[in-house]
Symmetry: C2
Subunit: 223 residues, 2 copies
DNA sequence: CGCCTTCGGTAACATCGTCACCGAACGCCG
DNA sequence: CGGCGTTCGGTGACGATGTTACCGAAGGCG
């Protein structure tokens, strides 16, 4: 079994001293599926590094409407957590364990020390930040300009990749939340995809029948 | 005349040693209005701290459509620059000097050193990051869910604040870019605002006749 | 089986983006 | 001043999407 530190490519260049510090201070934890990792009024007290599983970060409006902002995958850190740790700012988004998680929890003091002492660690954290921000730029662009049919096609492929399967457990309602749109819109688009033979559906279940066609369609309608 | 370092509240707690380093290495520069500060294929080589002026950060699609992501104001740093400096990543957004700028340019080496040695400096940078990310969350939410009339009202008030005047130089086209929508949409909304007596317009010029009404309207339709 | 909850389908309407076109305002220059 | 080209704003028609209001079907559970 490799050490958890070796499961983060960004830590390959970590200085030996700080590596030991992290190895000693980090505690491997498991989190049950569906747990809210952080959210408004629920600030985290440590940095989470994901070994296994997936965290969904979403935003909820006053009116209760939701949209998925991004996902954190195994091998990444939850950058919003670091934002809070370092800047003491409140944020409005919620992080939910989409699967059962295996993660390493780095206490705040250790995090601060690693930031101070290790340029490799800083590099790791900033790369995560940078990726998040550029991702969000693309998200904004997509929401503002892309057509819903292309967005849905791309989302189905993304979820299929995440699940590692052509069969998805997803309702029209959850897809609507993914894309920040209305369920009815999803229903209409899905009906069209079914008509074209690209997908099949049963209640709560979506089978991607023709991934290549979906991919072509998504690529033919870039943001 | 106070030293430029004192014009950034986040630097109040700066350690004396690093303060001297920054003071010696930072060069005050001026940038002409309209200059592209950074953009795809035009990576920055230093961190910019804004003393005076305003930078507009916007995203452009393949098809040439544009949307304004956020603005950097005096007293802030351009966090996207730091993202690039620290993570060596490419980004897709463009930064434009919306006014003439007075800024302090911190060379990369000095920036790295300050990040390594000063917790106050790290705090400054992370606070900027954090604010950007939470801003972007709200932007996503707004684009996805808010009505265009409310968004336009809020944008007019924001631009009015920026300009420090009730009179704005803005065409329907630039407002459309601000909000990532179509000019026609803006024209129709503006006509409605004029009809209600909230604004007056001449070619390229908008006069906010009833800021309170606009504010009420914007607040009555939150995201 | 009966009941309740959730899910998906549909219609009617409002909003907004897209396309096409036009005239008005402005800048420039003869 | 007057002509001319460019930019700006207005408008109608249409398609795409969000909103509202239902309804029936599929499952879960007792």
């Amino acid at each position: 079994m490799t050490h958890w530190l070796d499961r983060f490519p960004g830590f390959a260049m970590l200085e030996p001293g700080i590596r030991d510090t992290l190895a000693r201070a980090g505690r491997v934890v498991t989190v049950r599926q569906g747990t809210t990792i952080f959210g408004p009024g629920q600030p985290p007290d440590s940095l989470l590094l994901l070994l296994e599983g997936r965290v969904r970060v979403q935003q909820t409006t006053e009116a209760g409407r939701e949209i998925v902002l991004y996902r954190v995958h195994a091998g990444e850190s939850c950058v919003l957590t670091t934002a809070c740790l370092l800047a003491f700012e409140d944020y409005t988004a919620t992080g939910v364990a989409e699967t059962e998680l295996e993660a390493v929890s780095i206490p705040r003091a250790t995090f601060d020390r690693a930031m101070a002492e290790s340029s490799a660690f800083r590099q790791f954290v900033f790369t995560a930040y940078s990726r998040r921000i550029t991702d969000l730029f693309l998200t904004v662009e997509e929401i503002a300009f892309a057509r819903m049919d292309a967005r849905l096609a791309a989302k189905l492929l993304e979820l299929s990749d995440n699940a590692g399967s052509e069969t998805l457990r997803a309702t029209h309602g959850t897809l609507a939340t993914e894309l920040g749109t209305a369920r009815e819109s999803i229903s209409r688009q899905m009906a069209e995809f079914v008509r074209r033979g690209w997908v099949e559906q049963r209640r709560g279940l979506i089978e991607i029948a023709d991934p290549a066609a979906l991919r072509d369609f998504a690529h033919a309608n870039p943001v």
